[in-house]
Symmetry: C2
Subunit: 251 residues, 2 copies
Protein backbone atom coordinates (compact mmCIF):
# COMPACT_ATOMS: atom_id res chain seq x y z
CA UNK A 1 0.00 0.00 0.00
CA UNK A 2 1.16 3.53 -0.73
CA UNK A 3 0.92 6.23 1.95
CA UNK A 4 1.48 9.97 1.61
CA UNK A 5 2.61 12.58 4.13
CA UNK A 6 2.28 16.37 3.97
CA UNK A 7 5.35 17.90 5.59
CA UNK A 8 6.55 21.31 6.70
CA UNK A 9 10.09 22.03 7.84
CA UNK A 10 12.44 24.81 8.76
CA UNK A 11 15.30 24.01 6.41
CA UNK A 12 17.93 26.02 8.29
CA UNK A 13 19.62 23.14 10.06
CA UNK A 14 19.37 20.63 7.23
CA UNK A 15 21.49 19.76 4.22
CA UNK A 16 18.30 19.77 2.12
CA UNK A 17 15.61 17.17 1.63
CA UNK A 18 17.69 14.31 0.29
CA UNK A 19 19.42 11.73 2.40
CA UNK A 20 23.17 11.96 1.93
CA UNK A 21 26.37 10.50 3.28
CA UNK A 22 27.95 13.22 5.41
CA UNK A 23 25.12 15.52 6.38
CA UNK A 24 21.58 15.26 7.65
CA UNK A 25 18.75 15.63 5.15
CA UNK A 26 15.10 15.98 6.16
CA UNK A 27 14.39 12.70 4.34
CA UNK A 28 16.66 10.86 6.76
CA UNK A 29 15.05 12.15 9.96
CA UNK A 30 11.56 11.38 8.68
CA UNK A 31 12.62 7.93 7.48
CA UNK A 32 14.12 7.22 10.90
CA UNK A 33 10.97 8.38 12.70
CA UNK A 34 8.85 6.24 10.35
CA UNK A 35 11.01 3.17 10.82
CA UNK A 36 10.78 3.57 14.59
CA UNK A 37 7.00 3.96 14.40
CA UNK A 38 6.14 1.16 11.99
CA UNK A 39 8.92 -1.20 13.02
CA UNK A 40 10.61 -1.69 9.67
CA UNK A 41 12.87 0.29 7.36
CA UNK A 42 11.05 2.69 5.06
CA UNK A 43 12.22 4.64 2.00
CA UNK A 44 10.55 8.00 1.44
CA UNK A 45 10.14 9.72 -1.92
CA UNK A 46 9.86 13.51 -1.66
CA UNK A 47 8.04 15.55 -4.30
CA UNK A 48 10.62 18.34 -4.23
CA UNK A 49 14.32 17.89 -3.59
CA UNK A 50 14.71 21.12 -1.66
CA UNK A 51 18.31 22.34 -1.32
CA UNK A 52 20.24 22.96 1.88
CA UNK A 53 18.58 25.67 3.95
CA UNK A 54 15.41 25.79 1.86
CA UNK A 55 12.15 25.50 3.81
CA UNK A 56 8.92 23.66 3.05
CA UNK A 57 5.36 24.46 3.97
CA UNK A 58 3.78 21.82 1.77
CA UNK A 59 6.28 19.11 0.86
CA UNK A 60 4.67 15.77 -0.04
CA UNK A 61 6.39 12.43 0.50
CA UNK A 62 5.23 8.90 -0.24
CA UNK A 63 6.28 5.48 1.00
CA UNK A 64 5.29 1.84 0.74
CA UNK A 65 4.04 -0.07 3.77
CA UNK A 66 2.19 -3.39 3.57
CA UNK A 67 -0.55 -2.48 6.09
CA UNK A 68 -3.09 0.33 6.50
CA UNK A 69 -1.92 3.08 8.87
CA UNK A 70 -4.33 5.15 10.98
CA UNK A 71 -3.92 8.80 9.98
CA UNK A 72 -4.03 10.27 13.47
CA UNK A 73 -1.59 7.74 14.88
CA UNK A 74 0.75 8.34 11.96
CA UNK A 75 0.70 12.15 12.29
CA UNK A 76 1.07 12.21 16.06
CA UNK A 77 3.44 9.26 16.25
CA UNK A 78 5.79 10.88 13.75
CA UNK A 79 5.60 14.38 15.25
CA UNK A 80 6.37 12.89 18.65
CA UNK A 81 9.58 11.39 17.20
CA UNK A 82 10.61 14.29 14.94
CA UNK A 83 12.57 17.41 15.89
CA UNK A 84 10.42 20.55 16.31
CA UNK A 85 11.76 21.87 13.00
CA UNK A 86 10.00 19.10 11.05
CA UNK A 87 6.23 18.60 11.30
CA UNK A 88 3.93 16.12 9.62
CA UNK A 89 0.83 18.16 8.81
CA UNK A 90 -1.32 15.32 7.51
CA UNK A 91 -1.22 11.73 6.29
CA UNK A 92 -3.37 9.85 3.80
CA UNK A 93 -3.51 6.51 2.01
CA UNK A 94 -3.10 7.00 -1.75
CA UNK A 95 -3.72 5.04 -4.94
CA UNK A 96 -1.29 2.25 -5.83
CA UNK A 97 0.33 4.18 -8.66
CA UNK A 98 1.07 7.25 -6.54
CA UNK A 99 4.70 8.46 -6.47
CA UNK A 100 5.22 11.79 -4.68
CA UNK A 101 7.71 13.07 -7.27
CA UNK A 102 6.70 11.41 -10.55
CA UNK A 103 2.96 11.88 -10.03
CA UNK A 104 3.26 15.60 -9.28
CA UNK A 105 1.94 17.87 -12.03
CA UNK A 106 2.88 21.24 -10.50
CA UNK A 107 4.72 22.82 -7.59
CA UNK A 108 4.52 26.23 -6.02
CA UNK A 109 7.51 27.99 -4.48
CA UNK A 110 7.57 31.27 -2.57
CA UNK A 111 10.64 33.44 -2.09
CA UNK A 112 10.41 36.08 0.67
CA UNK A 113 12.47 39.28 0.57
CA UNK A 114 12.60 41.63 3.57
CA UNK A 115 12.38 45.28 2.53
CA UNK A 116 12.58 46.90 5.97
CA UNK A 117 15.63 47.66 8.02
CA UNK A 118 16.44 44.85 10.47
CA UNK A 119 14.44 41.63 9.93
CA UNK A 120 12.65 40.80 13.20
CA UNK A 121 13.90 37.62 14.88
CA UNK A 122 10.76 35.61 14.22
CA UNK A 123 11.17 36.09 10.47
CA UNK A 124 14.93 36.32 10.09
CA UNK A 125 15.31 32.63 9.19
CA UNK A 126 12.73 32.91 6.41
CA UNK A 127 13.54 36.13 4.57
CA UNK A 128 16.36 37.54 2.47
CA UNK A 129 17.01 41.18 3.42
CA UNK A 130 17.26 43.36 0.31
CA UNK A 131 17.56 47.06 -0.47
CA UNK A 132 14.38 48.90 0.40
CA UNK A 133 14.57 51.14 -2.68
CA UNK A 134 13.93 48.31 -5.15
CA UNK A 135 11.91 49.22 -8.23
CA UNK A 136 9.06 46.89 -7.44
CA UNK A 137 7.14 47.66 -10.64
CA UNK A 138 10.16 46.79 -12.78
CA UNK A 139 10.55 43.44 -11.01
CA UNK A 140 6.84 42.71 -11.31
CA UNK A 141 6.88 43.51 -15.00
CA UNK A 142 9.99 41.43 -15.68
CA UNK A 143 8.42 38.44 -13.91
CA UNK A 144 5.62 38.36 -16.48
CA UNK A 145 8.10 37.22 -19.13
CA UNK A 146 8.77 34.02 -17.21
CA UNK A 147 5.33 32.51 -17.62
CA UNK A 148 5.10 29.93 -20.38
CA UNK A 149 7.37 27.27 -21.89
CA UNK A 150 11.01 28.37 -22.00
CA UNK A 151 14.56 27.06 -21.93
CA UNK A 152 15.69 27.86 -18.37
CA UNK A 153 19.32 26.74 -18.85
CA UNK A 154 20.48 30.21 -17.72
CA UNK A 155 18.81 29.56 -14.36
CA UNK A 156 20.17 26.08 -13.65
CA UNK A 157 23.00 25.12 -11.34
CA UNK A 158 26.35 26.88 -11.80
CA UNK A 159 28.07 23.66 -12.85
CA UNK A 160 25.67 23.09 -15.72
CA UNK A 161 22.54 21.00 -15.98
CA UNK A 162 22.23 17.37 -17.07
CA UNK A 163 19.25 16.71 -19.26
CA UNK A 164 16.53 18.91 -20.69
CA UNK A 165 16.31 22.51 -19.48
CA UNK A 166 12.92 23.40 -20.93
CA UNK A 167 10.21 23.90 -18.31
CA UNK A 168 6.70 25.37 -18.25
CA UNK A 169 5.80 27.99 -15.67
CA UNK A 170 2.09 28.59 -15.06
CA UNK A 171 2.40 31.61 -12.79
CA UNK A 172 5.18 33.98 -11.69
CA UNK A 173 4.53 37.21 -9.81
CA UNK A 174 5.75 39.48 -7.04
CA UNK A 175 3.42 40.38 -4.19
CA UNK A 176 3.86 43.04 -1.52
CA UNK A 177 3.06 41.81 1.97
CA UNK A 178 3.73 44.59 4.46
CA UNK A 179 7.50 44.88 4.77
CA UNK A 180 8.07 41.84 2.58
CA UNK A 181 8.06 41.22 -1.15
CA UNK A 182 7.22 37.66 -2.14
CA UNK A 183 8.06 36.02 -5.46
CA UNK A 184 5.49 33.28 -6.06
CA UNK A 185 6.03 30.84 -8.87
CA UNK A 186 4.03 27.80 -9.99
CA UNK A 187 5.35 25.42 -12.60
CA UNK A 188 5.22 21.87 -13.85
CA UNK A 189 8.83 21.44 -12.76
CA UNK A 190 11.98 23.34 -11.89
CA UNK A 191 15.69 22.89 -12.47
CA UNK A 192 17.79 22.69 -9.31
CA UNK A 193 18.48 26.21 -8.05
CA UNK A 194 16.12 27.69 -10.65
CA UNK A 195 13.82 29.67 -8.37
CA UNK A 196 16.75 31.23 -6.52
CA UNK A 197 18.48 32.13 -9.81
CA UNK A 198 15.26 33.72 -11.07
CA UNK A 199 15.00 35.75 -7.86
CA UNK A 200 18.66 36.81 -8.01
CA UNK A 201 18.14 37.99 -11.59
CA UNK A 202 14.86 39.80 -10.84
CA UNK A 203 16.49 41.56 -7.88
CA UNK A 204 19.10 42.88 -10.32
CA UNK A 205 16.23 44.30 -12.36
CA UNK A 206 14.69 45.80 -9.23
CA UNK A 207 18.01 47.32 -8.25
CA UNK A 208 18.48 48.91 -11.67
CA UNK A 209 21.50 46.74 -12.52
CA UNK A 210 19.77 44.88 -15.37
CA UNK A 211 17.07 45.87 -17.87
CA UNK A 212 13.84 43.91 -17.51
CA UNK A 213 13.78 43.45 -21.27
CA UNK A 214 16.83 41.16 -21.00
CA UNK A 215 14.73 38.41 -19.45
CA UNK A 216 13.35 37.26 -22.80
CA UNK A 217 16.85 36.67 -24.18
CA UNK A 218 17.87 34.75 -21.04
CA UNK A 219 14.91 32.40 -21.58
CA UNK A 220 16.19 31.17 -24.93
CA UNK A 221 18.90 28.88 -23.57
CA UNK A 222 21.50 31.45 -22.50
CA UNK A 223 24.36 30.12 -20.33
CA UNK A 224 24.13 30.30 -16.51
CA UNK A 225 26.71 33.08 -16.46
CA UNK A 226 24.35 35.37 -18.37
CA UNK A 227 21.78 35.41 -15.54
CA UNK A 228 22.02 36.91 -12.05
CA UNK A 229 23.34 35.35 -8.85
CA UNK A 230 21.59 32.63 -6.87
CA UNK A 231 19.57 34.26 -4.08
CA UNK A 232 20.19 32.86 -0.55
CA UNK A 233 18.40 29.64 0.42
CA UNK A 234 16.76 31.07 3.54
CA UNK A 235 14.15 33.04 1.57
CA UNK A 236 12.81 30.04 -0.33
CA UNK A 237 10.01 27.65 0.63
CA UNK A 238 8.25 24.84 -1.23
CA UNK A 239 4.62 25.81 -0.64
CA UNK A 240 2.49 23.26 -2.44
CA UNK A 241 2.57 20.21 -4.68
CA UNK A 242 -0.30 19.46 -7.04
CA UNK A 243 -1.40 16.03 -8.28
CA UNK A 244 -3.97 14.94 -10.85
CA UNK A 245 -7.44 14.73 -9.33
CA UNK A 246 -7.56 10.96 -9.51
CA UNK A 247 -4.27 10.60 -7.56
CA UNK A 248 -4.34 13.59 -5.19
CA UNK A 249 -4.11 12.59 -1.50
CA UNK A 250 -7.37 13.31 0.34
CA UNK A 251 -5.82 14.88 3.43
CA UNK B 1 20.99 62.31 27.23
CA UNK B 2 18.17 59.80 26.82
CA UNK B 3 18.25 57.23 24.05
CA UNK B 4 15.50 54.87 22.91
CA UNK B 5 15.64 51.45 21.24
CA UNK B 6 12.92 49.60 19.34
CA UNK B 7 13.32 45.89 20.03
CA UNK B 8 11.90 42.62 18.78
CA UNK B 9 12.55 39.27 20.41
CA UNK B 10 11.52 35.66 20.38
CA UNK B 11 10.62 35.22 24.04
CA UNK B 12 10.85 31.44 24.03
CA UNK B 13 14.23 31.10 25.68
CA UNK B 14 13.89 34.01 28.09
CA UNK B 15 12.49 34.41 31.59
CA UNK B 16 10.66 37.53 30.36
CA UNK B 17 11.86 41.08 29.85
CA UNK B 18 13.02 41.89 33.35
CA UNK B 19 16.47 41.23 34.71
CA UNK B 20 16.30 38.73 37.55
CA UNK B 21 18.55 36.77 39.84
CA UNK B 22 18.38 33.17 38.65
CA UNK B 23 17.26 33.36 35.03
CA UNK B 24 18.05 35.38 31.93
CA UNK B 25 15.74 38.23 31.00
CA UNK B 26 15.91 40.06 27.69
CA UNK B 27 16.77 43.24 29.60
CA UNK B 28 19.98 41.64 30.82
CA UNK B 29 21.27 40.55 27.42
CA UNK B 30 20.56 43.96 25.91
CA UNK B 31 22.15 45.76 28.87
CA UNK B 32 25.25 43.58 28.52
CA UNK B 33 25.48 44.25 24.78
CA UNK B 34 25.02 47.99 25.42
CA UNK B 35 27.67 48.05 28.14
CA UNK B 36 30.10 46.27 25.85
CA UNK B 37 29.35 48.70 23.03
CA UNK B 38 29.46 51.99 24.93
CA UNK B 39 32.06 50.97 27.49
CA UNK B 40 30.10 51.62 30.67
CA UNK B 41 27.27 50.00 32.61
CA UNK B 42 23.80 50.90 31.37
CA UNK B 43 20.37 50.38 32.92
CA UNK B 44 17.52 49.85 30.47
CA UNK B 45 13.89 50.68 31.12
CA UNK B 46 11.46 48.60 29.06
CA UNK B 47 7.99 49.88 28.17
CA UNK B 48 6.37 46.48 28.74
CA UNK B 49 7.49 43.90 31.30
CA UNK B 50 6.70 40.93 29.11
CA UNK B 51 6.44 37.63 30.98
CA UNK B 52 8.50 34.49 30.44
CA UNK B 53 7.99 33.13 26.93
CA UNK B 54 6.12 36.20 25.65
CA UNK B 55 7.44 37.71 22.43
CA UNK B 56 7.85 41.31 21.32
CA UNK B 57 7.65 42.86 17.89
CA UNK B 58 7.73 46.46 19.09
CA UNK B 59 9.14 46.71 22.61
CA UNK B 60 10.63 50.12 23.42
CA UNK B 61 13.46 50.60 25.92
CA UNK B 62 15.21 53.76 27.08
CA UNK B 63 18.54 54.43 28.75
CA UNK B 64 20.76 57.30 29.83
CA UNK B 65 24.14 57.88 28.24
CA UNK B 66 26.09 61.12 28.50
CA UNK B 67 27.04 61.34 24.81
CA UNK B 68 25.22 61.27 21.48
CA UNK B 69 25.18 57.84 19.84
CA UNK B 70 25.06 57.34 16.06
CA UNK B 71 21.89 55.43 15.20
CA UNK B 72 23.42 53.10 12.63
CA UNK B 73 26.38 52.23 14.83
CA UNK B 74 24.06 51.61 17.77
CA UNK B 75 21.70 49.33 15.81
CA UNK B 76 24.41 47.33 14.11
CA UNK B 77 26.77 47.30 17.07
CA UNK B 78 24.07 45.90 19.32
CA UNK B 79 22.77 43.36 16.81
CA UNK B 80 26.32 42.14 16.29
CA UNK B 81 26.56 41.46 20.06
CA UNK B 82 23.04 40.12 20.64
CA UNK B 83 21.77 36.56 20.14
CA UNK B 84 19.71 36.04 16.96
CA UNK B 85 16.55 35.89 19.03
CA UNK B 86 16.87 39.55 20.02
CA UNK B 87 17.06 42.31 17.39
CA UNK B 88 17.35 46.05 17.72
CA UNK B 89 15.07 47.37 14.96
CA UNK B 90 15.88 51.06 15.39
CA UNK B 91 17.46 53.59 17.73
CA UNK B 92 16.74 57.27 18.32
CA UNK B 93 17.70 60.10 20.67
CA UNK B 94 14.67 61.21 22.67
CA UNK B 95 13.64 64.21 24.79
CA UNK B 96 15.12 64.56 28.28
CA UNK B 97 11.89 63.61 30.04
CA UNK B 98 11.42 60.39 28.07
CA UNK B 99 10.96 57.20 30.12
CA UNK B 100 10.04 54.12 28.05
CA UNK B 101 7.50 52.86 30.59
CA UNK B 102 6.18 55.98 32.32
CA UNK B 103 5.90 58.05 29.13
CA UNK B 104 3.92 55.36 27.28
CA UNK B 105 0.25 56.21 26.69
CA UNK B 106 -0.85 52.96 25.05
CA UNK B 107 0.35 49.49 24.16
CA UNK B 108 -0.86 46.95 21.64
CA UNK B 109 -0.67 43.22 22.20
CA UNK B 110 -1.52 40.44 19.78
CA UNK B 111 -2.39 36.87 20.75
CA UNK B 112 -2.21 34.27 17.96
CA UNK B 113 -4.29 31.09 18.05
CA UNK B 114 -3.72 28.30 15.53
CA UNK B 115 -6.98 26.83 14.23
CA UNK B 116 -5.59 24.22 11.85
CA UNK B 117 -4.34 20.76 12.66
CA UNK B 118 -0.59 20.71 13.26
CA UNK B 119 1.05 24.16 13.55
CA UNK B 120 3.83 24.36 10.94
CA UNK B 121 7.32 24.56 12.44
CA UNK B 122 7.94 28.17 11.42
CA UNK B 123 4.94 29.31 13.43
CA UNK B 124 4.84 26.78 16.25
CA UNK B 125 6.74 29.04 18.67
CA UNK B 126 4.31 31.91 18.11
CA UNK B 127 0.85 30.35 18.17
CA UNK B 128 -1.36 28.56 20.66
CA UNK B 129 -3.12 25.60 18.98
CA UNK B 130 -6.83 25.61 19.79
CA UNK B 131 -9.89 23.63 18.74
CA UNK B 132 -10.82 24.34 15.14
CA UNK B 133 -14.57 24.34 15.87
CA UNK B 134 -14.46 27.52 17.97
CA UNK B 135 -17.49 29.77 17.68
CA UNK B 136 -15.59 32.71 16.27
CA UNK B 137 -18.60 35.02 16.18
CA UNK B 138 -19.30 34.43 19.88
CA UNK B 139 -15.68 35.27 20.77
CA UNK B 140 -15.74 38.36 18.56
CA UNK B 141 -18.96 39.55 20.14
CA UNK B 142 -17.75 38.93 23.71
CA UNK B 143 -14.56 40.91 23.00
CA UNK B 144 -16.63 44.04 22.33
CA UNK B 145 -17.56 44.19 26.03
CA UNK B 146 -13.90 44.69 26.98
CA UNK B 147 -13.48 48.10 25.38
CA UNK B 148 -13.75 50.98 27.83
CA UNK B 149 -12.81 51.63 31.46
CA UNK B 150 -13.31 48.56 33.66
CA UNK B 151 -12.05 46.84 36.78
CA UNK B 152 -9.91 44.00 35.41
CA UNK B 153 -9.18 42.36 38.78
CA UNK B 154 -10.61 39.07 37.46
CA UNK B 155 -7.89 39.09 34.80
CA UNK B 156 -4.90 39.83 37.02
CA UNK B 157 -2.30 37.40 38.33
CA UNK B 158 -3.57 34.30 40.15
CA UNK B 159 -1.95 35.43 43.42
CA UNK B 160 -3.86 38.69 43.45
CA UNK B 161 -2.89 42.15 42.25
CA UNK B 162 -1.22 44.91 44.24
CA UNK B 163 -2.65 48.34 43.53
CA UNK B 164 -5.42 49.58 41.30
CA UNK B 165 -7.01 47.14 38.87
CA UNK B 166 -8.97 49.62 36.76
CA UNK B 167 -7.68 50.00 33.21
CA UNK B 168 -8.94 51.52 29.96
CA UNK B 169 -8.94 49.45 26.78
CA UNK B 170 -9.22 51.37 23.51
CA UNK B 171 -9.63 48.41 21.18
CA UNK B 172 -10.21 44.66 21.53
CA UNK B 173 -11.10 42.41 18.61
CA UNK B 174 -10.54 39.04 17.04
CA UNK B 175 -9.30 38.81 13.46
CA UNK B 176 -9.15 35.77 11.18
CA UNK B 177 -5.85 35.43 9.36
CA UNK B 178 -5.89 32.26 7.29
CA UNK B 179 -5.53 29.37 9.71
CA UNK B 180 -4.97 31.72 12.64
CA UNK B 181 -7.27 33.78 14.85
CA UNK B 182 -5.62 36.85 16.38
CA UNK B 183 -6.83 38.70 19.45
CA UNK B 184 -5.62 42.31 19.15
CA UNK B 185 -5.96 44.61 22.11
CA UNK B 186 -4.86 48.21 22.64
CA UNK B 187 -5.01 49.85 26.05
CA UNK B 188 -3.49 52.53 28.21
CA UNK B 189 -2.09 49.82 30.43
CA UNK B 190 -2.46 46.17 31.39
CA UNK B 191 -2.24 44.15 34.59
CA UNK B 192 0.36 41.41 34.58
CA UNK B 193 -1.09 38.35 32.84
CA UNK B 194 -4.17 40.31 31.78
CA UNK B 195 -4.08 39.70 28.03
CA UNK B 196 -3.55 35.98 28.50
CA UNK B 197 -6.40 35.77 31.04
CA UNK B 198 -8.68 37.64 28.63
CA UNK B 199 -7.76 35.20 25.86
CA UNK B 200 -8.27 32.18 28.10
CA UNK B 201 -11.71 33.47 29.03
CA UNK B 202 -12.69 34.34 25.46
CA UNK B 203 -11.60 30.87 24.31
CA UNK B 204 -14.04 29.43 26.85
CA UNK B 205 -16.74 31.52 25.19
CA UNK B 206 -15.65 30.29 21.77
CA UNK B 207 -15.67 26.70 22.99
CA UNK B 208 -19.20 27.02 24.37
CA UNK B 209 -18.07 26.59 27.98
CA UNK B 210 -19.00 30.12 29.04
CA UNK B 211 -21.72 32.54 27.93
CA UNK B 212 -20.42 35.71 26.32
CA UNK B 213 -22.85 37.71 28.42
CA UNK B 214 -20.81 36.81 31.54
CA UNK B 215 -17.99 39.14 30.46
CA UNK B 216 -19.76 42.24 31.73
CA UNK B 217 -20.05 40.81 35.26
CA UNK B 218 -16.35 39.79 35.23
CA UNK B 219 -15.41 43.40 34.42
CA UNK B 220 -16.89 44.75 37.66
CA UNK B 221 -14.12 43.59 39.99
CA UNK B 222 -14.84 39.85 40.11
CA UNK B 223 -12.09 37.67 41.65
CA UNK B 224 -9.49 35.99 39.44
CA UNK B 225 -11.10 32.60 40.02
CA UNK B 226 -14.27 33.79 38.26
CA UNK B 227 -12.48 34.23 34.93
CA UNK B 228 -10.97 31.64 32.59
CA UNK B 229 -7.46 30.17 32.59
CA UNK B 230 -4.33 32.03 31.54
CA UNK B 231 -3.60 31.20 27.89
CA UNK B 232 -0.03 29.98 27.15
CA UNK B 233 2.71 32.61 26.82
CA UNK B 234 3.84 31.48 23.36
CA UNK B 235 0.84 33.04 21.60
CA UNK B 236 1.41 36.54 22.97
CA UNK B 237 3.48 39.39 21.54
CA UNK B 238 3.90 43.03 22.50
CA UNK B 239 3.33 44.68 19.12
CA UNK B 240 3.59 48.41 19.67
CA UNK B 241 4.05 51.13 22.28
CA UNK B 242 2.59 54.59 21.77
CA UNK B 243 3.94 57.87 23.18
CA UNK B 244 2.60 61.42 23.16
CA UNK B 245 3.51 63.21 19.95
CA UNK B 246 5.98 65.52 21.69
CA UNK B 247 7.92 62.59 23.20
CA UNK B 248 7.58 59.86 20.57
CA UNK B 249 10.95 58.60 19.29
CA UNK B 250 11.53 59.58 15.67
CA UNK B 251 12.84 56.23 14.46
Amino acid sequence: MVHALALAYVGTGFAGWQRQANAVGVQQVVEEALADLVGSAVTLVGAGRTDAGVHARGQVASFLHPAPLARGALVHGLNHRLPDSVRVLAAAPVADGFHARRSAVAKEYRYRCWLGRVPPPDRALFVHPVRADLDFDAMAHAALALVGRHDFAAFGLAGGVDGPTVRTLHFAAWERRGEEAHFRVVGEGFLRGMVRALVGTLLEVGGGRRAGAELAALLAGAPRSAAGPTAPACGLALERVDYPVELAPLW
